[in-house]
Every structure is written in C-alpha cells, then in structure tokens.
C-alpha cells in the first residue's frame, strides 16, 4: 500500500467528508470535515494499518476563516507509509474531537496544541496545559501573541514579563560579511539599503 492508495481507500469510504486531497513532493495530505475525523482515524488505524501517530500540530491562519487548522501525521510501520490529515477549526468554535482513545499518544500532543494554540479537544481525558503553567492566561503560538510575551501573574506559581527585544527579534542572514552584517538587530522590510557583500536570502 502506498500513501495514494490509502488516501483512495479513505475517500472511497468517507466520500462526503473529504474536502481536499493534495500531493506534494511525495507527501499525501487529506483535508477532512472536522466531524468525520474520529471515524476516519479509527478506519485508518483498524483497516489501513496506520498504527503510529507521529505528531499533532496546529496552524494559525490569522486573518482567514476558519482560522486554525489541526494537522495529524500518521505512519504505518507495516507499510512504511506516511499520511497527513488536516481539519479546519474556526475561532468561534475552537474545538476538535479527541483521538486519544484511538492512539493514546494523542493525549499529550493534544495537550500541547491546547496549551500553545488554544484549541480544545472534546472528550479528552485530561486536558491541562503541558508546557506553560496552569493559570497562564495566553496561548503563545497564536499569531496575535507577541514574541516578547505579555506580563502575567499566577500567585505562588509563576509570573511572566515582556522580554526586551530592542528592535529584534534577533536574526542572522546568510552572508560572508562581518558580524555586524551577519547579525542585524532585525530583518528589514521594504527599501532599506543593503550592506555590501549581502547574499540574497532564498
């Protein structure tokens, strides 16, 4: 079985729920209706042999609707095949169905998505933050959250402050110039005179 065959089997069985299929550089991605996710994941594990959930991640398409996208990376040990599933999640109903009953490893992955992106998971057995502390009021990987952070205070537990970026975030650019050229305080936008020996970024 190849990834394309697996995608075809899923499309066959859940034809109404597949909203898009894409192949890029040998990687197959299926976009699904959020409601069909649990059924398709069960099918992928039980019938197609996707026994390993590699990762769950989320993308913030800030300014678009639906705003979020949750991405599931599946792998089949037996067939050595990768498959990617994506579901859209809107900001107003910021929730997805848990799949931790199918792959237990999803438990912590979903907690990470919840912690950093603020997407909840229905029926999750233990939906707590996993990296930031309980009581932290923000979801730091959202696009509208500043890199330097925001002040917060959870008494007796932790506090946070905005970091001084001093014109940053600090970046390096590919160049054979001096340190000053190589490590500007910030990546310039627009018409800024480029220093000598600057190599164009790809």
């Amino acid at each position: 079985m190849t990834a394309a065959e697996a995608a075809a089997r899923i499309t066959e069985n859940f034809s109404g729920a597949i909203t898009g299929e894409k192949e890029f550089r040998g990687e197959t991605s299926l976009t699904l209706d959020a409601a069909a996710l649990h059924g398709i994941c069960s099918f992928a594990k039980e019938s197609l042999g996707f026994d390993y959930l590699v990762d769950i991640s989320a993308v913030d398409h800030f300014g678009e609707e639906p705003r979020f996208e949750v991405v599931y990376e599946l792998y089949s040990m037996g067939h050595a095949v990768h498959l990617r599933l994506k579901i859209p999640v809107s900001e107003d109903n910021c929730e997805a169905q848990t799949i931790s009953d199918i792959w237990p490893t999803a438990d912590w992955h979903e907690r990470e998505v919840y912690d950093l992106m603020g997407i909840g998971f229905r029926n999750h057995p233990d939906l707590r933050r996993i990296l930031m502390w309980e009581g932290y009021p923000y979801h730091p990987l959202r696009k509208d959250f500043p890199l330097e952070g925001k002040p917060s205070d959870a008494p007796e537990l932790a506090f946070s402050d905005a970091a001084p970026l001093a014109g940053g975030p600090f970046v390096t650019v590919p160049t054979d110039g001096t340190t000053q050229v190589r490590e500007p305080r910030a990546r310039h936008a627009g018409e800024v005179p480029r220093p000598e020996k600057f190599i164009e970024e790809p």
């Binding site: 730091p140 890199l147 952070g149 007796e156 537990l157 946070s160 970091a163 001084p164 970026l165």
Partner: protein, 173 residues
C-alpha cells in the same frame, strides 16, 4: 611572608600560633570551602559537571562538595536557562539556603536570558535573586567557571564578615 597577606606567621617566635584578624580568618575559611548548590537547568550544567571532574577539578578551590540540599550549601551556581515556569522554584531554593550565601550566574541565559528573548524565559536570574558573579559564555568553559569562582573567593576575602554580619555580637563585646 609578604605584607599583603592577612596572616602573619613567624616560625622563630611561635610554632603553634598564628596572628590574624578574625575577619580574615573567617573569610579565608569561607572562601575555601564554598559548597555549591548546583542549579543545573540547561547545557551549562554539563560544563559545571566538567568543572567538577578530574581534568578541571573544582576541588582545588574547595568547592567540590556539590550539595543537592540547599540547607547545606553556600553558593548557588545558576547554570542554564531560567524559564518562568522554573523561576519561582529557583527563588524558593535560594530562600532555603542559610546565610551567608552567594550566587554565581553561569552563562548568558542565567545572566541575561541569553538568546532566549522570548515569552517563556526569565531575562536574567538577577530579576529574582542577588547575583555576585556573572560568567559570560554560551556555555562558559570550565576554566571560566573556575575564574568566576576565584573572583567570588576574592570578593569574600574583602568582606567584613564579623562587623557586618554579627552586629549584636560585636556590640556586646
């Protein structure tokens, strides 16, 4: 013996008596038996371990007794990135250390947040606890840590330990 030394000893006069100042004697004892509280939080802790191992041998400076109990340690070596999640725990361990106590901020992260200008990292442990010696480097070599330790020893030798820290005792005399 040179005139600079806090200890004077003349073997022609006394075989078993050393004349010195109380401050100097106490400082000498303190500075040569600094028991570190190894606050290893990131890669700097690896260099801290290297400083304790045979090649660099921190015991040459009397600081080899890494006490993982704050109650028995004198100097907290904050070695690594202090995240906000860890920050109050570091502060709490510092508060549990008995006086007199000192702090070494080892490496860029502990000194200033280092390359982590981000929402998750405390921008220098000196926001929470008083730091005596900052060591630059990412991570610093063990030599740099030993140099920092010697700086701290020098600082301790300059303290007025009795008059400043035992005021009631001095007044009662």
């Amino acid at each position: 013996m040179s005139d600079q030394s806090p200890i004077t000893y003349d073997s022609k006069i006394e075989g078993n008596i050393i004349f010195t100042q109380l401050d100097a004697a106490i400082n000498w004892m303190r500075s040569n038996s600094l028991w570190p509280m190894p606050m290893g939080l990131a890669c700097c802790a690896i260099e801290l371990m290297a400083a304790g191992a045979s090649r660099f041998d921190i015991s040459r400076f009397g600081a080899e007794v890494m006490r993982f109990s704050p109650r028995q340690s004198d100097v907290m070596i904050v070695a690594g990135t202090v995240t906000y999640k860890m920050a109050l725990s570091v502060k709490r361990i510092w508060d549990q250390m008995p006086e007199p106590k000192w702090c070494i901020a080892m490496g860029a992260c502990a000194s200033s947040g280092g390359m982590y200008r981000s929402y998750a990292v405390l921008q220098g442990i000196d926001h929470l606890i008083p730091v005596d010696v900052y060591i630059s480097g990412c991570p610093p070599r063990p030599e740099a840590l030993l140099d920092g330790l010697m700086k701290l020893q020098k600082k301790i030798m300059g303290e007025h330990s009795v008059t400043d820290q035992k005021k009631a005792l001095v007044e009662s005399l």
